[in-house]
Amino acid sequence: MPEATTIRLRDDTPCMEPAVTLEAFAEQTNAVAVRIEPGGDARELLAHLDRLARVDIAFPAFTDGRGYSAARILREAGFAGELRAVGDVLVDQLAYMRRCGFDAFAPDAPIDMADAEAAFARFPEVYQSAADPRTPIWALRHGDGDDR
């Protein structure tokens, strides 16, 4: 399989607009794509979510995990547009990112699609409820789809 520059887990037409910064968005609220840096507060967008087609969350270094919280906060507030992880995004973080609500990935260094698919499929179940639709193990244990 080819190496991808952008991995997208959505079927809708991608929004190709350039993302504006949080500060620029505050002044120019007709933008449809915003980029959040690690220090930015995702909650500043909550009043305008219906107007946004895409939010890019920047990972200048993969070890900086603030973007995971930003993503969940947006999904918890009902954001249904594209949530894209941008920057130092590596195959070993993809599955966690997806659980936090990311559905698109624009890594600096291309990721092998086969590796990405293996990463998404690695863990058979999950222990927590997060921003993805997966059923946590505790729910499986107590009747929600339990087959024991």
């Binding site: 690690p38 993969f62 070890t63 900086d64 995990g65 603030r66 995971y68 919280s69 930003a70 969940r72 918890e76 590596l90 070993d92 973080q93 599955a95 966690y96 990112m97 659980r99 936090c100 293996a118 690695r122 863990f123 058979p124 179940e125 999950v126 222990y127 927590q128 409820s129 997060a130 946590p136 193990i137 505790w138 729910a139 499986l140 244990r141 107590h142």
Partner: protein
């Protein structure tokens, strides 16, 4: 104790496969060392001075005989025939090859064990009271809550790249035997008006800036534990400092914001998260609790009393056999009151005179496994003091148990005495160390065995760290020793007055440091000041608190 179901097993098996794949990609050059490092750390694999070190999780310090036997097998198969029990109730192997790491994890998974999140900037293995489920003074067994949080924190998608490591501790008694308030989150299960809930202390820790965690919530209902933890973590993940590794722990955030403002933010996030359905149902907690029920013979005492959970009793005195062969001394120092008056918890000392604190050979581990099966309902605990507990021993079995332990070099009667020293690996293994810890512990232990003062000194907690990271808990020692580098030579600072118990306090430095010989003399000098000044019934710590630093300084620097 907890047993995996097919879900738990599948998760651990998947982790082994994932790490095997990551190791292969690393060895094939597809991952750089920088990319691989956080991944191996989250599987407990550190690069040390001489080799890789693997840290295996022992959740809340509880394990059974079969698991202990596997730890022995790993020590022999992949290491040099021994392991090192740590202040985090885990075990470390110091001579591991990267090529073997995935196989070791697979061996561990075969006995429901793992090394998940034993290092790295994520939620670490959760610690607890080593007498949990047996102690006479607890309101409940804290381990089911720790297990609930273990599962919640395992592979947590939002909290795996935190600013820094994150340690949680759960206890359930007024007495604190787990240094609860020196954790990032310390939880105490308490009863209020007949209902159980959790006190949350947040922002404690040792390291270079030791802090005692403030109470931020006096009562979190049991069906909101996960949600509250999630809120506390989210505020930290978003606002904890990432510009300076030394200021990245949550204690700095809580300190800089102030406990009140941090609490306000957590409460706000908590109110929001309550709407998100992140909390497992109480039925899940009940399911987990079922695994921790006391074995049935333990539920009835001979006098017919029912030593049920929550039946807080007075401490019972030591067993009253009189023999004169060392057994009495061991039974007096190395046992702890059990909920059932016919039983005690027995402390197995891994601190023989002149030994390496916390080290056990594969043969010793096998002896412990056998003894656990024979005398303690197949249960063992690892203590943060780097000893092992057999939690449920019938008083009648104590002489036989002591004999077997003594034969294996594990019968030293020194729990909580001078010889029961906590020491980090220090410069003998650790790449961050400034000085050696182990030889200092060995010399002090030998000194006090020779001068016969140990018994007279009574409870005295000595803790040694080889650098400011404080893995040896020197801030919390009645006497603490900190290794520093002074112009290229190893030097040792002496600290007095720390405590990790319910009366938590941080030790203070006495003054200029000492060299390797000088520090051993200094410890003896401090001990002598106590022996001279103490009043009836005072421990070293009590005397220090009453008379202050001055008399000690005078004697040390005269």
């Amino acid at each position: 104790m907890y047993a995996y179901d097919r879900y738990d097993q599948a998760m651990v098996d998947a982790r082994v496969a994932e790490f095997r794949d990551q190791c292969e990609r690393r060895l094939a050059g597809k991952l750089t060392e920088d990319q691989f490092k956080p991944l191996r750390l989250m599987n407990g694999l550190y690069l040390q001075l001489h080799a890789y070190m693997l840290r295996v999780a022992i959740p809340y310090g509880t394990l059974n005989g079969g698991q202990m036997r596997m730890l022995a097998t790993i020590a022999e198969k992949y290491d040099r025939g021994y392991g090192h029990f740590t202040t985090r109730q885990n075990i470390q192997y110091n001579w591991i090859k990267l090529e073997d790491a995935a196989d070791i994890l697979a061996d561990l998974a075969s006995v429901e064990m793992h090394a998940i999140q034993t290092s790295g900037n994520c939620i670490r293995n959760i610690s607890s009271d080593h007498f949990a489920g047996a102690a006479a003074d607890e309101v409940a067994d804290p381990r089911p809550y720790a297990e609930l949080l273990r599962q919640w924190s395992s592979f947590h998608p939002e909290f795996s790249y935190l600013p820094r490591k994150f340690k949680i501790c759960v206890i359930a008694s007024e007495q604190d035997r787990a240094a609860m308030r020196l954790h990032d989150i310390g939880i105490r299960i308490v009863g209020r008006d007949g209902e159980l809930g959790a006190q949350f202390y947040v922002g404690g820790g040792m390291g270079r800036t030791p802090m005692i965690a403030p109470l931020i919530r006096d009562f979190v209902p049991l069906d909101q534990l996960v949600t509250y933890s999630e809120a506390a973590l989210r505020v930290y993940n978003r606002y904890g400092r990432r510009d300076n590794k030394y200021k990245a722990r949550i204690k700095i955030l809580v300190h800089e914001l102030g406990a009140e403002e941090y609490t306000r933010q957590v409460e706000e996030e908590f109110a929001h998260l309550l709407e998100q359905g992140v909390e497992p149902p109480l039925a899940e907690l009940e399911r987990i609790k079922g695994f921790f029920e006391l074995p049935s013979p333990l539920r009835h005492s001979r006098e017919g009393g029912n030593p049920a959970e929550g039946a807080v009793r007075e401490e019972s005195g030591p067993p009253d056999q009189v023999r004169g062969d060392g057994f009495e001394s061991w039974a007096r120092h190395n046992t702890h009151a059990h909920r059932n008056p016919d039983y005690v918890s027995a402390i197995v000392s891994l601190k023989p005179v002149g030994g390496i604190p916390g080290d056990a050979t594969a043969d010793q581990m096998r002896v412990l496994a056998d003894l656990a099966e024979q005398y303690s309902f197949d249960e063992l605990r690892v203590m943060h003091t780097q000893n092992v507990v057999l939690p449920h021993v019938a008083k009648d079995d104590l002489p036989a148990l002591w004999q077997a332990l003594s034969d294996a070099g594990m019968g030293t009667p020194n729990a909580d005495l001078m010889g029961d020293i906590i020491a980090c690996p220090g410069l003998d293994y650790c790449s961050l160390a400034n000085a050696r810890s182990i030889p200092i512990a060995q010399r002090i232990s030998e000194r006090f065995a020779a001068n016969g003062k140990e018994a007279a000194l009574g409870e005295l907690k000595l803790k040694i760290s080889g650098c400011i990271n404080a893995c040896g808990h020197h801030h919390a020692g009645h006497i603490g020793i900190l290794g520093v580098d002074r112009k290229g030579t190893e030097n040792y600072q002496l600290l007095l007055g720390g405590s990790e118990a319910e009366d938590t306090s941080l030790a203070k430095i006495t003054g200029p440091g000492f060299d390797e010989r000088g520090i051993v003399d200094a410890v003896e000098t401090a001990a002598d000041v106590y022996l001279r000044e103490r009043e009836d019934g005072e421990r070293f710590l009590d005397t220090y608190r009453r008379i202050g630093m001055a008399p000690f300084k005078e004697a040390l620097y005269a």
